[in-house]
């Protein structure tokens, strides 16, 4: 029997004012999967995460999370649903006035009545999972970019969510931190049996850890498949993206009038 579907995205569209961002997206994500959503800047990847978390409402279509249509929930029900979700923001979004320990303990203190001694043990366990138990007394401004993201990862798994969404988790990291974060995403997903959605530009690192990839271009799913299928794809867009080619379906030059017209060469030689 295949693992249970956790997230279903059906014919999802979203527009900012009249500008369409997403046009009829269909996706399905199962428990235990790490799914990558790739695409160029401004292709609507982060918007898709915000739709899944219920931060914005779709223009049409729907997102179902654990059987519930996210945008039909009232505020209280949405907040209850969000306790089953975690999100890792691009630069961690740690609370700068709280220590590493208090950041990870934040949700436990807000949503549970656990005694402080148990919170302490749980926080240290979460920090141990990301290799930063020894840094629990530090303030966020004393952390490197990679460490901040690991703390944010520990914070997002504080209440053992069913889903974690990662918004550009690899941006601006050195190769070691990049590899550490990548491995952590895979390991934690497997260990906690949750689902991970990774929005990223980093093709090589993400293809090492994900189970399935969706490519978004011009607001639609341009391609999808397993990492193996993606690597071997001959579809022009996927090939250009995976191999980082300068020109292709995504052109190098921004649309403009001809070079000759701009430089007024015809006038010169006329």
């Amino acid at each position: 029997m295949p693992p249970e579907v956790l997230i279903e995205v059906n014919d999802l569209s979203f527009s900012y004012d009249t500008r369409p961002i997403l046009k009829g997206i269909d996706m399905s994500m199962r428990r235990g999967q790490v799914v990558a959503i790739m695409g160029g800047s401004g292709s609507g990847k982060t918007t898709l995460l915000r739709l899944i978390s219920g931060a914005i409402q779709p223009t049409s279509g729907h997102v179902k999370f654990a059987g519930e249509v996210v945008h039909e929930l009232n505020r209280d029900a949405l907040f209850r649903l969000r306790r089953k979700m975690g999100m890792l923001f691009q630069f961690g979004a740690l609370f700068t006035d709280l220590s590493v320990f208090d950041n990870v303990a934040f949700q436990m203190r807000e949503h549970t009545n656990l005694p402080e001694s148990m919170i302490r043990d749980l926080v240290l366990m979460k920090l141990h999972a990301v290799g930063l138990r020894g840094a629990h007394q530090l303030m966020p401004n004393a952390l490197s970019g990679g460490m901040a993201r690991r703390v944010a990862l520990a914070r997002s798994i504080a209440l053992d969510p069913m889903l974690i969404m990662y918004d550009e988790p690899f941006t601006g990291l050195d190769p070691i931190s990049l590899s550490v974060i990548g491995n952590l995403i895979r390991r934690l997903t497997d260990a906690l049996g949750m689902t991970s959605i990774v929005v990223t530009h980093d093709v090589q690192e993400s293809l090492k850890i994900v189970d399935y990839v969706y490519f978004i271009a011009d607001g639609v799913i341009a391609a999808q498949g397993t990492p193996k299928e993606v690597r071997e794809s001959v579809a022009p867009f996927v090939h250009q993206f995976v191999h980082g080619e300068e020109d292709g379906p995504v052109p190098f030059h921004y649309p403009a009038q001809t070079y000759q017209e701009d430089l007024k060469l015809e006038d010169t030689f006329a």
Partner: protein, 265 residues
């Protein structure tokens, strides 16, 4: 030419509509903060922490400014009153000026610059660095958890700061006139005691400072929460907090004074 006039009228109309819309938005936000104040009351520790940042850390500027304002008042008052042989009334002048007007107003202006701007910058930066969005994703309402405690801390701090400002001002006036110049100490205090009325002077000054506290902190939290999430956005919001708060304090002061001291001779 007519096109330019139409364009100018359109521009003015647009600005007016935008200002009214923003005022309505700010009012709705203010009501939202009040409605979501339950967490602040249940977990008063959140407010206590903010009381330290907005109240305690504002003390130094309030104490020093109050002292100097009182000293200047004492000096100026003495210079004028001694011409009429009434230098012993300088205590009354200093106390009434401070308790009725300068205490609440100058303390509120200083509070807006020191604590109001800090509140706006902090909330604005939390928004710019996605901390508020992260909180929302953790199913914690940022208005209840971040905004409301700061609002109530400001509202509670303001009357205390105004009172401390007035006390320091009276002490400054005493230092200059009694200790340095040599005005009779007994008449300084006794005239002050007989002239300052608890109901009309002290209570009204306290009420004014409560109004100013609500106004300054409401503006500060709104500007921070509404700040565009960029460096320019946060800096603009901080400036708007100080400018708007200052104007609102002075405007409110006039209105409150007109109501409070109507018919009092």
């Amino acid at each position: 030419m007519p096109r330019r006039i139409v364009s100018a009228v359109q521009h003015i109309g647009h600005r007016v509509i935008e200002s009214i819309w923003r005022l309505g938005y700010a009012s709705r936000f203010f009501i939202l903060v009040l409605l979501k104040s339950g967490t602040s009351l249940r977990r008063f520790g959140l407010v206590m922490r903010e009381l330290y940042f907005t109240g305690v850390l504002s003390l130094i500027i309030i104490v020093v400014s109050g002292l100097f304002v009182g000293m200047v008042l004492g000096l100026q008052g003495y210079e004028t009153l001694q011409k009429y042989g009434s230098e012993s009334a300088v205590g009354t002048l200093v106390a009434l000026s401070l308790v009725r007007e300068l205490g609440p107003v100058v303390a509120a202006l200083l509070f807006a610059s020191r604590a109001g701007s800090a509140i706006t910058a902090e909330i604005g930066l939390m928004k710019a660095t996605e901390q508020l969005a992260a909180m929302g994703m953790m199913a914690v309402d940022p208005v209840a958890r971040v905004v409301a405690p700061r609002f109530w801390a400001g509202v509670i701090s303001m009357p205390f700061l105004a009172a401390i400002f007035s006390v320091m001002g009276v002490f400054g006036g005493y230092l200059v006139t009694v200790v340095f110049i040599g005005v009779d100490e007994g008449s300084f205090w006794s005239q002050m005691q007989s002239a300052v009325d608890f109901r009309f002077d002290i209570l009204n000054g306290f009420i004014k400072s409560c109004f100013f506290g609500v106004a300054v902190t409401a503006i500060a939290v709104f500007e921070g929460y509404d700040a565009p999430p960029t460096a320019e956005g946060v800096s603009g919001a901080t400036t708007r907090t100080v400018v708007t708060s200052s104007l609102v304090i002075l405007g409110l002061d006039f209105i409150l004074t007109a109501f409070m001291f109507r018919g009092v001779s």
